[in-house]
Amino acid sequence: MTGVRLAKHWLNLDEAAIAALPGQLGVYEIADANGGTLELGFAGGRSRFGLRSAIAEAAAKHEAAARFRYEVTMQYWSRFEELLAVYLADHGELPPGNADRGEQRVGRLGAGRIAVQGR
């Protein structure tokens, strides 16, 4: 499933990096120091300062948050759904920060439903 992943450079999660973020809409991924994904999310139409505020707020929820990457897109909702589906197909579960969404509400990319859930 190359081409659907968030293929952006990782950035260290610090105040300067957050301050430099655009106020645009888009999707993001927050990870710990080992690269383990903590949360996938999006800066939607209700975000106060787009990716800048959305990533800052999401990072504050995770003590282990150490780095992040993002992608500017107006299609933030379908891109977010796609990233969740890719992650679920790769790992068989959702990132800890997205677990409350429930796997049943996430689409399946790749093989069908049972094949993914039975990994």
């Binding site: 499933m1 939607g44 909702w77 689409g107």
Partner: protein, 388 residues
């Protein structure tokens, strides 16, 4: 045609209107502007309400437990149900329930047990896969997905695109070519489970409509049992075609609904916003935009109701369905565009639903058959002859 509403219709519409304005619209203040789903606890609460009202499963035939509402009344309800931010593609966020896939009512008893009834119970979800990368406007000729008989089974190979809901479905209604020599008479409809080996959701297709997205599908030697043929072998296109005509009426009704709301918003704003010392509503330039909106709206509304009334009366309605889909999608696009112009900068923002409707209505001129195809259908019906 007389569209005087009956007492029962007035009561139904008043109930739906109040439901949309008091239960749905307030929730949208806290949702993302592109959302098409409600949080589960709100959804469960509102589904319970629609069941209590006797309006759940509106499109389910009465013999399968639906409320048995005629298409004209259903169309009038659709005008109301679309009057909120997500209303075009997710009217009332689905809390009135759906009919599932209409083709399943034509299934045999075994197929109904395995697919239709689980869908009606909310245990299974399906998708409808007709369009392919080779084209969607002329599916009878464009379908390149093949199904080859192998003993009692069929082997499907090919791909589909712009298929909504496939990544969250348990099965799909899939059209494949079973006889390359027979054109539209060589298409067969199959029920394909998404856990059948060889089925794959390749990617999500990102469009102007961020939610209710579509996906690209791949069928790589998918073995489908013969009992999963829906209808007759080589008669699948008739199944697809019947659905395409009928769906154009509610499709048009959704366009009319958001346009009605956009016009209401435009008038309200024009009566409160002042420029150069007076209200926008006193400016002839704005008045004419509102008048043009009203003409587009009334035309689309009347034509959509006419198509629904003909369908209810058991008369041919293919021409009327094509016309109402065409007029409603184009007219509503103009109405929303003018409403945005009247609202100025605010009309472009995600604070208001207009920008979402503007994006999504653009898709409506292509979805369910592009408007050029609707014109072809009308030309064929009015002039006669066939496509070449």
């Amino acid at each position: 045609m007389d569209f005087e509403l009956s007492t029962e219709q007035k009561l139904i519409l008043e109930t739906v209107r109040r439901f949309v304005r008091e239960e749905i619209v307030p929730l949208e203040a806290d949702l993302d502007p592109d959302a098409s789903e409600l949080p589960p606890h709100h959804r469960e609460r509102l589904v319970a309400m629609t069941k209590e009202l006797g309006f759940y499963g509106l499109d389910i035939p009465a013999e399968y437990g639906g409320p048995g509402i005629d298409l004209t009344t259903r169309t009038l309800m659709a005008f109301e149900m679309a009057q909120h931010r997500a209303g075009l593609y997710a009217p009332c966020y689905g809390v009135f329930g759906g009919a599932g896939l209409a083709q399943l009512y034509e299934a045999d008893d075994d197929q109904k047990e395995r697919y239709l009834y689980p869908v009606l119970r909310g245990e299974k979800r399906g998708f409808f896969a007709l369009t392919e990368p080779s084209g969607g406007s002329d599916p009878a000729r464009a379908i390149r997905t093949t199904a080859v008989r192998d003993g009692d089974d069929w082997i499907l190979d090919g791909e589909k695109t712009f298929i909504s809901g496939a990544d969250k479905a348990d099965f799909g209604i899939v059209f494949a070519r079973t006889d390359p020599e027979l054109g539209r008479k060589g298409i067969t409809c199959f029920l394909v489970d998404t856990d059948m080996p060889g089925f794959r959701v390749r990617r999500i297709v990102h469009t102007l409509r961020s939610t209710h997205y579509a996906a690209e599908l791949e069928f790589n030697r998918v073995r489908v049992p013969g009992r999963n043929v829906l209808g007759e072998v080589n008669q699948g296109f008739a199944i697809a075609n019947d659905r395409l005509s009928r769906n154009r009426i509610p499709y048009a009704a959704g366009c009319v609904g958001v346009a009605l709301k956009a016009q209401e918003m435009a008038i309200a704003y024009a009566k409160t916003r002042k420029t150069f010392g007076d209200y926008l509503s006193t400016r002839q330039a704005v008045q004419w935009m509102i008048v043009d909106n009203e003409i587009d709206l009334r035309t689309a509304r009347a034509l959509t109701l006419e198509a629904a009334a003909r369908a209810d009366a058991g008369k041919p309605f293919r021409t009327e369905a094509a016309i109402c889909k065409l007029v409603a999608s184009e007219g509503a696009s103009r109405v929303v565009d003018r409403a945005m112009q009247i609202h100025g900068g605010y009309g472009m923002t995600k604070d208001l639903p207009l920008e979402r409707w503007f994006r999504e209505l653009r898709i409506r001129r292509v979805g369910e058959g592009p408007n050029e195809i609707q014109r072809l259908i009308v030309a064929r019906d009015v002039i006669g002859g066939s496509f070449h």
